[in-house]
């Protein structure tokens, strides 16, 4: 009962935003910008850079709003634009290191991550190299398949898989280090 009016309201807002109605555009921005800033923050350590990327993403959103067919989630559509914007940025800055290496992943003791705060998890992710982090974010957070990641980043599927292994391995190691430091301080 409540979803339909909300959906209709969003549809009308989108329609107005397509007609370059600045108020409607502002409302859409205010609705989705906090989540989208978080998405961008996953890929870029610096919050100012993340916000710049988010604004670039929203510019693309409003420019290409007429191409949105209302067939899927509007938030998911915006999210994909944000991710692509971040990938483009990282690629331009040559921050992607997607070299292949063999890693043996050990998922023991991952259970302890449940008690870790979001802030600490973000710190662990931020410590990852850009290539690892990107593939990890795309695979683990955004839910892309390796085939899609390989297509998006212009790499092979096996590279995408190995990047994910490396990311996980490094996350695990960093997590242990972080826990050890916390316990020693206590």
């Amino acid at each position: 009962m409540k979803i339909i009016p909300l959906h209709n309201k969003q549809k009308s807002l989108i329609k107005k935003a397509i007609d370059n109605n600045r108020e409607a555009q502002k409302q859409l921005f205010e609705q989705h910008s906090p989540k989208m800033l978080a998405v961008c923050r996953q890929y870029v350590k610096d919050m100012h850079h993340a916000e710049d990327l988010m604004l670039q993403g929203f510019l693309k959103v409003f420019t290409n709003l007429h191409t949105f067919k209302h067939q899927g989630s509007f938030e998911g559509w915006i999210r994909r634009i944000m991710v692509n914007t971040c990938i483009s940025y990282l690629r331009k800055k040559n921050l992607l290191d997607l070299s292949d290496e063999e890693y043996i992943f050990n998922d023991a003791a991952i259970e302890s991550l449940e008690n870790t705060s979001v802030k600490d998890i973000q710190k662990l992710i931020d410590k990852l190299p850009e290539g690892y982090k990107l593939v990890f974010n795309l695979f683990a957070i955004e839910g892309y398949k390796h085939l899609e990641i390989a297509d998006k980043l212009g790499i092979s599927v096996s590279t995408s898989k190995s990047q994910l292994f490396k990311a996980r391995k490094l996350l695990q190691e960093n997590y242990y280090k972080m826990n050890t430091t916390i316990h020693e301080n206590k």
Binding site: N20, R22, Q25, K26, F29, E30, S33, P34, K35, L37, A38, R41, Q42, M47, A50, E51, M54, L55, F58, L59, F62, T63, D107, I110, E111, L113, E114, T116, V118, I121, Q122, I125, F136, F139, A140, I141, H146, K161, L164, R168, L171, Q172
Partner: protein, 268 residues
């Protein structure tokens, strides 16, 4: 590869995370949107104007190239040539020399001057007043020619030489030929003879040379290059007219002035 526990745990923690953008975020985005819309409008206008300019240049080039190939046709040919008055005068003089007035005239008109009344011949020999139009020998029909010859026989005894000339003129001419005669010349031939002109000069105590001198001096004053004899011949034609008799020299001057006027306005 399947998602493991680590992935799920991190996803759970990060997926619904939010960050509040800065206060100026929307303002910055709004400015970028304005600039983009301006660029779009400018871009559209720029491309249209560029296309129009190219089209204009191409059309001008095509026009110029095509016009080079066409031959330029001059419809109006204007030729300015000077009229050689000397040459005209020479031709006029030549005309007078070639065709003496006495020969050119039809002597039959002299018959009337001598007051020879020829009955039923009014159409052929008109009176002095009536005769204004130019007349040709061809216009005289053969029937009338017979009448003329018949009437001339009566006059034969009095003026045998003149009649002989008339006969020669009539019978020697080809009936199909045409000779144009000036009406004034014809009139002069009818009304005056060389004897009469001489008599006129004697009466007014004038010599022909003096008159020619007067004409020359008038022509020099007017700066006209015309044979004085031509003008004198023209003047002599009008001997006998009342107003002419009253002032002979004034008439000469008036004639010269008339020539000057005609020459000046010939190109109008």
């Amino acid at each position: 590869m399947k998602t493991n526990k680590l992935d799920n745990h991190i996803k759970k923690k990060l997926q619904n995370r939010t960050f509040e953008p800065s206060v100026s975020a929307w303002e910055r985005l709004s400015i970028q949107l304005d600039e983009q819309s301006k660029q779009k409008k400018r871009g559209w206008f720029f491309y249209i104007s560029a296309a129009a300019s190219i089209l204009l240049l191409v059309s001008i080039g095509f026009k110029l190239l095509s016009s080079d190939k066409e031959e330029i046709k001059v419809n109006d040919i204007i030729v300015h040539t000077k009229i050689d008055t000397n040459e005209i005068d020479q031709k006029i003089e030549q005309f007078f020399n070639e065709v003496p007035i006495e020969k050119a005239m039809v002597k039959v008109y002299e018959l009337e001057k001598k007051q020879v009344k020829i009955k039923n011949n009014k159409n052929i020999i008109p009176t002095k007043k009536k005769f204004k139009k130019p007349m040709t020998t061809a216009s005289i029909s053969s029937k009338n020619n017979k009448t003329i010859i018949a009437k001339l026989d009566e006059y034969k005894n009095e003026h045998p030489t003149k009649v002989k000339i008339i006969k020669e003129n009539i019978f020697k001419q080809d009936p199909n030929s045409k000779i144009k005669i000036n009406s004034d010349d014809l009139l002069f031939a009818v009304t005056h003879s060389s004897k009469e002109v001489k008599a006129y000069y004697a009466k007014h105590n004038l010599t022909r040379e003096e008159v020619i001198k007067t004409i020359k001096s008038e022509l020099q004053k007017k700066n006209i290059n015309i044979n004085p004899n031509t003008i004198l011949a023209e003047v002599e034609r009008t001997i006998g007219e009342e107003d002419f008799e009253n002032n002979f020299l004034k008439s000469i001057k008036r004639r010269v002035s008339n020539f000057a006027t005609v020459l000046a306005s010939r190109n109008d």
